[in-house]
Symmetry: C2
């Protein structure tokens, strides 16, 4: 087992990465401070891993909540379901909430933990590659609103992240690829060496080579932990982790949550952001080609479905969290392995990119 | 104008206390960082003070939301109304939310500010004595759940508190008294000198002597600021500010939110906690009598309505935030001017107090 530390003063916490960690009661017990424990998971994950987690929690009074699976359930209404169960079971402020699932479960349960009695113990057990390399680390929690993704939420750090690499064996290929979009992102925004490693080893990752996956997860989490330690609240450098996300969120919101995976939308968004970076004079054609190739090799889409018009993109992007006083801002690439902080772009260049990737 | 500072490192903020402060654009402008400003108030306060606040915000793009008045609207549903308006008006992450109202508005709008895009600028303009001396200071935000008061919320500090003592002129006598309950609390839990001052000057306060009110507000805020600086997240000493609140919350929840003012319930709760402190051997009969007298002199009730049975009290108290693993805990008084940290009590003593103050 590897242990990475996210350094945030009194909010610091470990990320445990290894095989069959969900079967180790000790990892849970270290961070739980009372008898009352609630495990929240979804209908897909429950039959696969819930029993094993419950076995590791045998010493506690455990209540289980099983939610429907899908981004379309990442809403304030679903959070209320969790609150109702916590209150009906009289959970007190020193009780613990465990998220067993992918990014949707982690974000939603983290937000519930942040708000219940103004904050209770929260433990992440991510079960998708995307959650393991990105959403389970760094304390961003929240839910979607019909008018924008992740618009309601909190910065709330878990007490630990238990990343069991064995759970990836049951992940379907599409979900695995979705996670690789965020892995590629780390290479692009701040780790050129890792990007080159990924160019060479992408096939090993899609074929689930355990050692290569473990390396990619550790390297991704290590990059993320560094950035979060530097800028917990995203007042500066952390924003670079949003590479591809302004476009990606617009694709997700425009198509309706649940019709495309977050990682797929991010993969397309990375290609769009690369194209825009080229139009701004930062990347050259060869750079953009390498990015499209690696995305394609990860079995991810490089162009969006044709449903969205340029005006729809612009309208949705107008409520992105990075905007200031209504101006749309993007994370662009200065070069492979280095991102720029959020910047506004000329509208004609943005429209050129949207036309290039949009309805013809 | 007096300026008290709440010392919380990078989350420190000033409390401005003085006359006609809502007419001073400068106080607002110091803390607002973008053009987009939303003022949330209620139907009672809007006709009285909204225009004056809007005049002070003339330089900004302001959206106003007017909510219905009352504790029964302090719900997640009402927070959603605020989110909807923020998103429909495309408020970005650097926009500002101003709460113009009493404790309900402050708690609810503060929670909305905490959660909108994971946190935006928040400014408190408290318009009741209770909000000025208690709820606007210290960052406790949140809403009620049918199964418990303030069960959903966040610790989220404002950028400043603008306490205009002139707005108390329009406050009705019952609301003024409700605020005095929290003022009395500060004397009881940590400021014996202030308690004695209050015994002497309570009539001046109920008769709205401006100088005496200003002194009581400053002294209360100063006590609160000290405690919050010491223990922002209520992991220790801050809990003493809950004197009377375990009983008080049970009275509010049991009668249905809105049927009794929070301050009135706290006043009764202070008397019940005093009685329980006596039964535990901490206070003597004379102490309890002095507490009942000062509550009475503030034109506050000392006994609860007879609707609630002992078993109802116990059931509601079972979900109090101070509880640990299901055990009910109370803030009790060691002596006048000194509270004890939360402690469990023998059930027969608790029942004796509840019987003393309950249905006969």
């Amino acid at each position: 087992m590897e242990t990475l530390n996210v350094s945030l003063g009194e909010r610091s916490y470990p990320i445990y990465i290894g095989q069959n960690l969900i079967d180790q009661p000790d990892l849970f017990e270290r961070h739980i401070t009372s008898q009352q424990v609630m495990v929240v998971t979804n209908e897909t994950i429950a039959p696969l891993y819930l029993d094993r987690v419950l076995k590791s929690l045998a010493g506690f009074d455990v209540v289980t909540v099983v939610l429907p699976d899908g981004e379309e359930f990442k809403t304030l209404n679903t959070v209320e379901t969790v609150f109702n169960s916590l209150l009906e079971n009289r959970f007190s402020r020193n009780s613990s909430l465990i998220a067993l699932g992918g990014g949707v479960i982690g974000d939603l349960v983290g937000f519930a933990a942040a708000c219940y009695q103004r904050g209770i113990v929260f433990i992440q057990v991510p079960t998708t590659l995307l959650a393991q390399v990105d959403s389970s680390v760094g304390g961003k929690t929240g839910v979607n609103h019909p008018l924008g993704k992740n618009m309601i939420g909190a910065f709330y750090q878990p007490k630990c992240v238990i990343t069991d690499t064995c759970v990836l064996e049951s992940l379907d290929a599409r979900q695995l690829s979705a996670g690789l979009a965020e892995v590629i992102k780390y290479g692009l925004v701040r780790d050129a060496e890792f990007f080159i490693w990924l160019e060479t080893n992408m096939d090993a990752l899609t074929q689930r080579s355990p050692n290569d996956l473990a390396f990619a997860i550790e390297r991704s989490c290590s990059n993320k932990a560094d950035i979060v330690a530097e800028d917990e609240m995203e007042s500066g450098v952390r924003a670079i982790l949003n590479l591809g996300h302004t476009f990606g969120h617009a694709i997700e919101a425009g198509l309706g949550y649940g019709s495309i995976l977050h990682g797929e939308a991010v993969a397309i968004g990375i290609c769009q952001a690369s194209d825009l970076s080229r139009r701004m004079g930062f990347l050259n054609n060869d750079d953009v080609h390498r990015i499209e190739m690696i995305v394609q090799n990860a079995a991810l889409p490089t162009v969006p479905p044709k449903e969205l018009s340029v005006s729809q993109y612009l309208e949705i992007m107008a409520v992105d969290k990075k905007n200031i006083d209504g101006r749309i801002r993007f994370i662009l690439l200065e070069r492979l392995g280095r991102a720029k902080l959020p910047c506004s772009v000329e509208i004609d260049r943005l429209e050129a990119t949207l036309n290039e990737y949009g309805r013809s």
